[in-house]
Symmetry: C2
């Protein structure tokens, strides 16, 4: 059991309000007056969630995007956010961070409402949190709602962001669509809002297709089979199509596509790629080109 | 201009939603459905906002209390919070932090709804944020609403927490009421809710009486005279009553009493101590035992 898992076990004892949903999901849901608020908060730590060489504007964009992606997975409309910011000691760095953050907030219509600014001791890695508040536009899908027989879909290919990170690790000056996918993820807000009335379960793929599908299946008390791993043409062009590439893409995080379970009788109302199906039982199975494959040792990004 | 002031100038360009209130206040106010939400977020950094030797349960308590105090200053009822937590690498430390956090949340009826947990690189000072959501119980007082002729009040004495911090700096094993005031501040939620219909302006004294009164006066476009600095008997007993002690207490932060402006025709509906008055003009004046005093070089805790 990881340190984070042990901590979450303790935290669940404290978070016993129904709105916390047992901390099983990425968001909290709070009924206030006649409105259902969807609340989420994500922290990004230098050297853990981004590379120290990443441009500050991209870090600012990404902090907004990862929180917006959590709202998207619940079909929520952004209503505002609060920023917790650690000053860099370099005004132009801070200004560029805010510019990138502001671009994402403006693109996705999420007002910045407040927050807190702190100075870290010199030489510390810095961290930033954003807390986003959304308003549910319909039913709020949980990750635990998949049913046996449901098809599993993705709103787009996976692996681009992970390949972009690999490129940047060997060359911080790299650029192109894979690097963009890593640095400037696009939250699927429109797709989430259109999907939320129909899906049985939905989440964003932040940690990797395999691990996030396994989590959805476990939360739903089902087995899941992944039988297709969609890759972008940019990724196939850069790496050459192969089974190894498909597996790597399914283990990679940071793509922020939506992963959802839909009854077999329904067609997705948005562009989506079928990637698997749920059945009774438990566990994750992987099929590539019709052949059952052993699972890789790591299914994706495990926090802590 | 400090780094934080420069950053806030940029941030205000971004935070142009009315709910952000120009970032002039400690909270944001968001109208959702028929409800006014009061939103606040505070970050505590090791070595900046607390001593590395402070017991983890007290750090957890204080993180909750400082956010609850911001809700108190707006007369808001807590409805929930999100925690951003940096794992310590020591399970028993983390458990003790949660125990203290949980004590405060339970005492003041604020449910923990969710958040995010991260692992910092080894050796980094850690930081924690809490974002608190409240529901306005009446008018939401701003700090800019004081009027000429208003009396200025405090809900309790100042200086205890600062004296506690001084004691702990020279002896991390110190204990007693002053140390308790520093480590376990009590948010004035009941007082804030009772005061909010009557006050012209209200805020909590987190940075010191002199600096916070000066901020209220500046935001209101007025002058303020502080003519009384209330001290606790614990503080006078420990330090011996003196003018120097009164000035030190008025510069000290972390007391979290409420500071409010009330028309001279009204009597406060809660226990409160008159400490000054507002008049036309600008600036802060200090009068002790009827004699005008020069202002000390530092008025209180200046962020950044």
């Amino acid at each position: 059991m990881s340190a984070e898992s042990r901590f979450l076990t303790l935290l669940r004892l404290l978070a016993n309000d129904p709105g916390a949903q047992g901390l099983q999901d990425d968001v909290a849901v709070l009924q206030v007056g006649g409105v259902r608020l969807v609340l989420t908060s994500d922290t990004m730590v230098e050297g853990v969630h981004y590379l120290p060489t990443d441009p500050p504007a991209d870090i600012g964009w990404k902090l907004a995007a990862v929180n917006l992606s959590d709202l998207a997975a619940k079909g929520a409309r952004p209503v505002g956010c609060l920023l917790n910011y650690a000053l860099s000691g370099d005004d132009s760095w801070d200004a560029a961070f805010l510019e990138g953050l502001g671009e994402a907030l403006s693109r996705y219509a999420m007002p910045l409402l407040g927050g807190d600014t702190v100075q870290m001791p010199a030489g510390s890695p810095r961290s930033y949190s954003l807390t986003a508040i959304g308003e549910a536009s319909g039913p709020v899908p949980v990750r635990a709602g998949a049913q046996a027989g449901d098809r599993l879909y993705l709103t787009g290919p996976v692996g681009d962001a992970g390949a972009g990170l690999d490129l940047l690790r060997s060359n911080p000056g790299a650029s192109g669509p894979l690097v963009d996918a890593y640095r400037r993820p696009k939250p699927r807000l429109v797709e989430g809002a259109l999907l939320c009335p129909d899906v049985h379960a939905m989440m964003d793929v932040s940690d990797g297709l395999l691990i996030d599908a396994a989590r959805m299946a476990e939360a739903s008390g089902l087995a899941v089979t992944i039988d297709h791993i969609p890759l972008s043409s940019a990724l196939e062009l850069a790496r050459g199509a192969s089974t190894a590439l498909q597996i790597a893409a399914a283990q990679a995080g940071d793509d922020y596509e939506l992963l959802f379970a839909l009854p077999p009788t329904l067609k997705p109302p948005v562009r989506a790629i079928p990637v698997g199906r749920f059945s009774t039982g438990s566990g994750l199975s992987l099929v590539i080109d019709g052949a059952a494959m052993p699972l890789p040792p790591s299914l994706g990004w495990e926090h802590g």
